[in-house]
Symmetry: C2
Subunit: 316 residues, 2 copies
DNA sequence: TGCATCCATAACCTGACGGCATGGATGTCG
DNA sequence: CGACATCCATGCCGTCAGGTTATGGATGCA
């Protein structure tokens, strides 16, 4: 006899989709299960939340009232979970750092080593994220900090320090006609099929397809979709398409059958370290960010005062 | 794989009690069930929330983090539920009014009739509450407005208009030596056993025991505890003790075997209409409050501008 | 030493919940 | 106009989550 957050999540999905069937597949449950959940919620509240019709599920007045409150509830739950987990890591003296494949590349080890000198008691737990998770776990509070390619979706809701900038290069199968060129112009690649990240990654996907450097009448062709560096390299080596990558990938992801060629006509790419605003007061995160900046020899873009404080006490 | 609010409520209870056994009985579940719930929550969060010891359950660091967030989450859930239910009543053109037995007494029907003239389309649903529920459902959003004796617990978190004030009288068994007196002084009743409301009602209970009108060295004696007017009258008629009541009870709750005698030395009592601040903009509630004031011939204490607006449109 | 207090564990049982298959209502299109 | 597509509801069934009772182990206390 308690409205639990599972029901609210289901309700929110149905309210957004306006359609039980689509909401059900979004939530990875069957449509009858969702029907029952919504009925249960309605019964629990003693209120009709949707008017059912052929067209789908439309919110009633009470439904709109609930829909207005639901995001706040779910956000409160998520915040609570995130902060609790974060406190757990702090207590265990663990800093969890997420990173995307091809983010920091060879700098990563140096950063961890530098952090180890600053905070000998704290262990860094590195978590590689799939590209379908473009904040590498920052968004769901799974990690305390993340090494990411900039820009990333939702970037302005986090703190970010830029660490380094490098050119983007083309990654071609060794058998490709352009593979032996010393340089390419991106325009030469407009008609090539590209290996892309999953569509759900939005701007991240678009960024690595360089849609902004492409005329409107030459939409990108997708040769394959991959979520992991190995699949990605395999797809390229097998001739399903080409891709863009940071220059450092040529060193870090060298592999027979794959060639890296410098490209003109696309903007360079940056790596940054990101953390949640909630951790602005967290000295462990602060030390990690400082370690990042030290290793790459960068200065804080926003002045040192914007960083979490230094210090060696345990986190509150 | 979702933290549901049931687990959070359990967690909050354990955190407050510091003791599984007591928390379990507060939640009306068995102790092993709570053990499992806490374990499940810990597993879900990947964090140890309590340190178990002979002395009980003590919060860990992460536990404190969660305990700090839990009230906000539960409050958000409750708000969502309350507003949804309220919207449901508005849609159904129902105004639900809670009242405590002995609150408005004979004025109640007149108020409902007057409201019926103002809003012919809206039905008033009266809900009598037990004394153990001293806001008559206002606190849990079960009702849109409530007719209450003033003061009531948590009164300053609601809007209140005072409707009428009357003396308190003593209620005695007809066989009581003092039953045939025309007037009494409260001091004469200091040593009598009283029929009281349940201890959980706090200041409400104390108010009707008139603890403020009693010297510190004459603590009240409790003859019986009741939660309903009928039990209360029976307890008095059967000689378990006496009680104070509003003067109107002499008319409204006349019964053989029970006598009402005016008392000096206790402050008079007031009846008010209360509503939630969230309904300040609700014209239906506004019309109900105005109906109350009209019927008793009172003016708004805080000026008419503090009342919810008048109007005949449906509620938003 | 016996008792009280607290939490954990074991064994068991019920029903909540999800999945599959299907039905009913209602637009749409050839 | 009938076949079809789209949506939501329903019936049936199997599984497991979550509750209960009974009991055990640890530890102060009288």
């Amino acid at each position: 006899m308690d409205v639990d957050s599972r029901l609210l999540r289901s309700f929110a999905a149905v309210a957004e989709e306006g359609n039980l069937t689509r909401a059900a597949e979004r939530l990875f449950v069957s449509q009858p299960a969702l029907t029952k959940q919504i009925r249960q919620l309605e019964q629990l509240l003693g209120v009709r939340l949707f008017t059912r019709s052929r067209a789908g599920m439309a919110l009633t007045g009470p439904g709109r009232a609930l829909a207005a409150r639901t995001p706040a509830v779910l956000a409160a739950v998520d915040t609570a979970v995130r902060e609790t987990r974060s406190a757990g890591r702090a207590q265990a003296r663990v800093l969890r750092v997420g990173f995307l494949a091809s983010a920091a590349n060879e700098a990563t080890q140096d950063i961890v080593a530098e952090f180890g000198r600053r905070r000998p008691g704290t262990r860094v737990e590195l978590r590689q994220a799939a590209w379908s998770n473009p904040t590498a776990g920052l968004a769901d509070g799974d990690v305390d900090a993340a090494l990411l390619r900039l820009p990333f979706p939702g970037q302005d809701t986090y703190r970010v320090e830029t660490l380094l900038t490098e050119d983007r290069v083309a990654v071609l199968p060794a058998t490709h006609p352009l593979a032996d060129r010393a340089r390419l112009d991106f325009a030469e690649l407009w008609d090539e099929p590209f290996i892309a990240a999953p569509p759900t990654t939005g701007s991240f996907r678009d960024y690595w397809l360089a849609v902004e450097a492409r005329p409107a009448d030459r939409p990108v062709r997708i040769g394959a979709v991959t979520d992991q560096p190995d699949e990605w390299l395999s797809a390229i080596a097998n001739g399903y398409g080409i891709a863009l990558a940071p220059a450092s990938a040529a060193r870090f992801y060298a592999r027979p059958g794959v060639t890296y060629v410098p490209v003109d006509g696309v903007a360079p790419t940056s790596v940054g370290v990101a953390w949640a605003p909630a951790d602005d007061g967290n000295p462990v995160v602060g030390d990690f960010v400082r370690s990042c900046l030290d290793v790459v020899g960068a200065a804080p873009t926003s002045g040192p005062s914007a960083l979490p404080p230094e210090g060696h006490g345990p986190q509150a």
